[in-house]
Symmetry: D2
Subunit: 128 residues, 4 copies
């Protein structure tokens, strides 16, 4: 029986410890049901954004099929990459708010590794 619903908030008003990111080691196993990603609470919003991006990519195919003007297609490609990068920023913020914070509170080397991993993820979005 699962005693604590996902909406539970701990005494300090923090996100409950048992909503953890995958890959994290837990010292205290009492409440963990499963590892959840940092975007878990925003899942619907993230999926909605991704479905819209999918619609934009299909729109791009339609523009190309219809022989629309190159610059008009390019403008829409730019809008689509912009929408994708906004998804990335949301995922990053969720990851930092939940997974990285959990790692910091858990202590040890985990926090340092999580931050290094997140920084490398950002670097993949820049031209470094």
């Amino acid at each position: 029986m699962q005693s604590a619903p996902f909406s539970a908030i701990d005494a300090a008003g923090r996100r409950p410890r048992w909503i953890l990111c995958r890959g994290m080691e837990r010292v205290d196993h009492t409440a963990v049901q499963q590892a959840l990603p940092g975007y878990h609470d925003d899942k619907d919003a993230v999926l909605k954004r991704l479905r819209r991006v999918e619609g934009q990519v299909r729109g791009l195919q339609r523009l190309v099929k219809e022989d629309q003007y190159c610059i008009d297609v390019l403008t829409q490609v730019a809008a689509t990459t912009k929408a994708l990068q906004a998804v990335a920023v949301q995922l990053l913020e969720d990851h930092l708010q939940h997974c990285v914070q959990e790692a910091v509170m858990a202590g040890g080397d985990e926090a340092r590794d999580k931050v290094a991993e997140a920084s490398q993820a950002v670097a993949r979005f820049l031209r470094t």
Copy 2:
């Protein structure tokens, strides 16, 4: 009478004058059948790339639905934006190879305007 197919090449080995980009004014109307975009010859390749990007965006939705780890999703978002930007570079090159070259050969202010337009399109992909 000129009934040249789209694969025709002019005497100088240049892309035929009647494959023009939308929006271009033509002084000589004799051969123009219709305005075609610069990516016309690469249309299948562009569509294939866009279908692959669409597949990547659907893959992103699957990762999110399956609660996959934030960083793994972010890495795939980065790969998808990279693929989209490669489409943009192809469209830009096709546009410069055909539309801008046509405008230059047609002479007048058209060429200057086309180049300014293409530069602005590039600026939309950078953070300027």
Copy 3:
């Protein structure tokens, strides 16, 4: 009385609490000497990178003064932006390793605000 030098490490092997980022509120004032930025320990490395970027920008001016070929100048501009973005990733990682971690350990709303602020800083590097 704690008169720990900046190189001191706490019992848990963590960066000392008194190396804090500017703008952070502290509950416990005993050990704080002054607020230090997250890149404090990497300051020399960051400055060295920035001096190299400055050299690259002066090199760009020399190329332009010497009428070097446009594409060669553009290639060096790209290398310079790449170097700048690498500085940004280092500053971000230092900020997350120190300032954000401090905020998380301090508890309260501070951590959430710090993470939102860092995410917005990343967004400024993307075209969102």
Copy 4:
């Protein structure tokens, strides 16, 4: 003896043929004094922008020396990369307006190669 000043405009109102980009082969050598880059007419403006970027990079070093807050430094790094990318867009536009147009008017394979080269230069600014 140089008979045509750089400000000369040809009969068709086009930029004179003898302002060419480096690396271009010329069929007609009569007027060429030397190869000039596409940004030649904007040289002062480009240098002014680059000096301002240099000032920004020195400002970044000052912020770091003064232990300014990480996010404030990051914001200025973002502004500096933005300024550099604006230089890139100006150089690209000048290159397309002059060097690529010259190549197109000269005819032959030169134009195709110049456009491919410019597209690759753009790709270096994107994460492709």
